[in-house]
Symmetry: C2
Subunit: 495 residues, 2 copies
């Protein structure tokens, strides 16, 4: 038995070394030279999208060379603005012919450097494709072009009695949200983009345009062939460009109530959450804030909450259903030692509360003026959440840095929003170290290194650890099958 154990541990070590050597190899590939763009290329692009839709100006390239994350700007060689799918298709065909990187750009609100042009090339801005193609109120679905953002859609839907609940905070484009597999505060009840995307119009690297579920299809269910829709959801622009999305809508809730409450410990807040879910309460939002986040919120958004581990809750339903839900949740919270239960029925008070929740990134930055956000994102089975949060808080304290914790606790997903001065290399190094260790801990505890931000540039090494050598190999095979020249958003998801 003893020798078997040694063999096993040796073979595990060997496997690890293999993975590390693979990572090294990929890293070497990554440093390859940027592609030289032919001098006539901008003119060729202009032939397709019009001269007014091509820019090599520094300001435009800079604007398109980064998202909202800490990753350094990486400039594309030029930016093209597409106005329709046919143009996207022709641009793809042109880039593919020349082997030039092509990076789709939605709203630029990503958090892992997904749009940064690490190998130069063409950034294709889709924000001019703003048609809401159809709203089928009776079927709870709609189809939008790539440039439509979630707030625009919800404004448009206001009088239909329907809404699209997925809410990552930022006013992201809906097709961009598909590309990143986004979610946010309402996911605990309504799911993520994975569960809410019914069909996608996609342009492949070679210019092929097709609908992942078949032309015009918009069914709640299907088992017709491979689930291509969900292959493209979360593919981060590396398999093709999403030009249209057909997504699910929901009835606007008849009534909404929000609430906040506070706990002695992280464990008590998470225990309450688990019990809420166990009771089958269809809670719409259940957000955790640690005491540092609450403090930041109080200061930035003029709230007056107890500085303690807290939950922000929201309930959707009809009047009597809400009464039932809120009563039950209040009992659960009380049983876990929760206190200061404050209800917010008035829309203004509710909006103020959720505005504060959504502004928390800025609130955290305001804790150290002049800083930029370094945001992390792990997700674990909910029973492991207290362990990961508690250990993360310890590591933050040990490193002597500021790291407010905010979590979509009903999904086991949380973030740390570190405020970091751009020039403060020492703090940045500490933040990176703690973030990496936090992600490794999440992986150890059956979790993922990203619940909703995606891999982008920032988590490629972690993806290799998470999915393993065979999983990466399968992903690479799929990438090769659909984008053999590797032009689609290179340097993202994989090294």
């Amino acid at each position: 038995m003893h020798s078997q154990r040694i063999i096993r541990s040796y073979s595990a070590l060997f496997r690890k070394l293999q993975i590390i050597s693979n990572i090294q190899r990929h890293k070497t590939q990554q440093v390859a030279e940027k592609i030289q763009i032919p001098s006539s290329f901008a003119a060729d692009l202009a032939q397709i999208v019009g001269k007014h839709n091509v820019s090599t100006a520094n300001a435009v390239r800079e604007q398109h060379g980064h998202d909202e994350s800490y990753h350094s700007i990486e400039l594309p060689d030029m930016v093209a603005f597409a106005e329709c799918t046919e143009q996207v298709s022709e641009v793809a065909r042109l880039c593919n012919h020349h082997g030039i990187p092509l990076i789709p750009f939605g709203s630029g609100t990503g958090l892992e450097g997904g749009v940064n042009a690490v190998k130069g090339g063409v950034c294709l801005d889709l924000s001019k494709m703003t048609k809401i193609v159809s709203v089928n109120a009776g079927d709870f679905d709609c189809t939008v072009e790539a440039g439509v953002t979630r707030k625009t859609l919800n404004s448009y839907l206001r009088d239909t009695g329907l809404w699209f609940p997925i809410d990552p905070g930022a006013d992201a484009s809906l097709c961009g949200m598909c590309a990143t597999s986004a979610s946010g505060t309402n996911a605990v009840r309504y799911g993520t983009m994975r569960e809410n995307t019914m069909n996608l119009e996609v342009v492949l690297a070679d210019g092929t345009v097709f609908d992942t579920a078949g032309k015009g299809k918009r069914t709640k269910k299907t088992s017709a062939g491979y689930n291509l829709t969900n292959l493209f959801v979360g593919s981060e622009g590396t398999l093709g460009i999403i030009t249209k999305a057909t997504i699910r809508l929901y009835p606007q809730p008849e009534a909404t109530i929000s609430a906040t409450c506070h706990f002695e410990t992280v464990q008590a807040a998470v225990d309450s959450t688990v019990q809420v879910l166990q009771c089958g309460i269809p809670i719409a939002r259940i957000e955790f804030l640690d005491e540092v986040s609450v403090d930041a919120c109080n200061k930035f958004s003029k709230l007056n909450m107890k500085v303690a581990p807290s939950l922000f809750l929201e309930f959707h339903g009809n009047a009597s259903g809400l009464e039932d839900q809120t009563k039950l949740v209040a009992e659960i919270v009380q049983a876990n030692g929760g206190s200061n239960f404050v209800w917010a029925k008035d829309p203004e008070v509710r909006n103020h509360l959720w505005k504060a929740r959504h502004e928390i990134l800025y609130a955290c930055m305001a804790l150290k003026p002049g800083t930029k956000p370094y945001s992390t994102d792990v997700c674990v089975p909910i029973s492991n959440l207290p362990k990961v949060i508690t250990r993360t808080k310890e590591m933050i304290q040990e490193a002597g840095i500021i790291g407010p914790i905010v979590g979509h606790v009903g999904d086991g997903n949380f973030h740390v929003f570190y405020p970091v001065h751009p020039d403060d290399q020492e703090t940045l190094a500490k933040v990176k170290d703690v973030s990496h260790k936090m992600a490794l801990l999440a992986l150890e505890l059956d979790g993922t290194c990203t619940g909703e931000h995606g891999i982008g540039q920032g988590k490629r090494e972690l993806l290799e650890r998470e999915i393993g050598e065979s999983g990466i190999k399968v992903m690479r095979h799929l990438k090769m099958a659909l984008d053999p020249r590797g032009i689609m958003n290179p340097g993202k998801v994989f090294f």
Copy 2:
């Protein structure tokens, strides 16, 4: 403008011809000879799984050469029973080496001939892999081996307060349900296998074993790399063999009420359903039965229902929540002219009702003794459902055949269960004709040719129409990338 229209219509025609010629080409490929198995092969298999786990007996091959559908038996050359993932991996490697077809077999309860060995080869029966690997009650998830069926799991879970709600009727294996992207009566509330599968252990054609979401991962959300889990869900054994599944569990409802009610028209029943969904009522089951099905149910299951288009409903929740839901639904039904609302609170009455619903396939066969079922499966946006059902009923009447209609109406999904004598070629031809026309109508109305039964052998041509040439090409590329020798369940999904 006029000439442009002509050009467009010509190019549409040209495209259609291209698709048809493609279909013809694929059909020719399909008639290729069956593969010759080396004489030593059974012995090689026995080396892996043990002699007692390999059979070339006719009875065993026959048992494994068909599912529950009308598709003719197609015998595998031999049947192997795997007892663990390592054996599955070695069997795959062996088959891949020799280029021998490998067909995974779960419970054999499919409805599109997905397990029939159209090119011979090895049928790999997974029913001996019956471990429930883990149940994480606090995280609402569990992991099961390939042979565990949904009823076995739910019996096992009885005392945990949790259950797995996806219910396709048959006692299918859970990994088989993953492979077909199954769903059933509870999908309107709990989703399908697509939404409820968190991770899969998969064996690829070359024997590689990997976890689609990474080893041991079981998070509610993830955006780490491509969604491989949902690539394998619904892949019908053509991309690899699912040997373990990690799936979501739900709290057992505190209380359950069922009900039936009847309508003058199909439209009124569907209108009621849409309004129920629009009100955001979390109904657990909402099943449509046309008057022919009700009649069959009355006769077979000793019910005494009004012979009219009907809804079977089920509500899950706590006592006060249920009161609220049922009151609202009763109002909606009444407003649509529904009548004879009968509530079933008593578990025995409820079980009798749902047993009748689940036995409906047999009830339909009993309408013409000695027949076998030919079952169809389309899904459309719910607003188009009355149109498809009404036209289907007309076509059934015009053809002079019996075709009871049953639908998961909340999902826009319905079936016709035709009773057909195996030797009655004339009726079979009529049934096939009506089924095909019904599927084409569904495609025309933004629907799919299969909501939950899969493509198997029966719907390959329809898949080509549904997904189009480019979509099929993408699917084929993915298949080629993961199974370059084409050994995995050949002749399914594609021609």
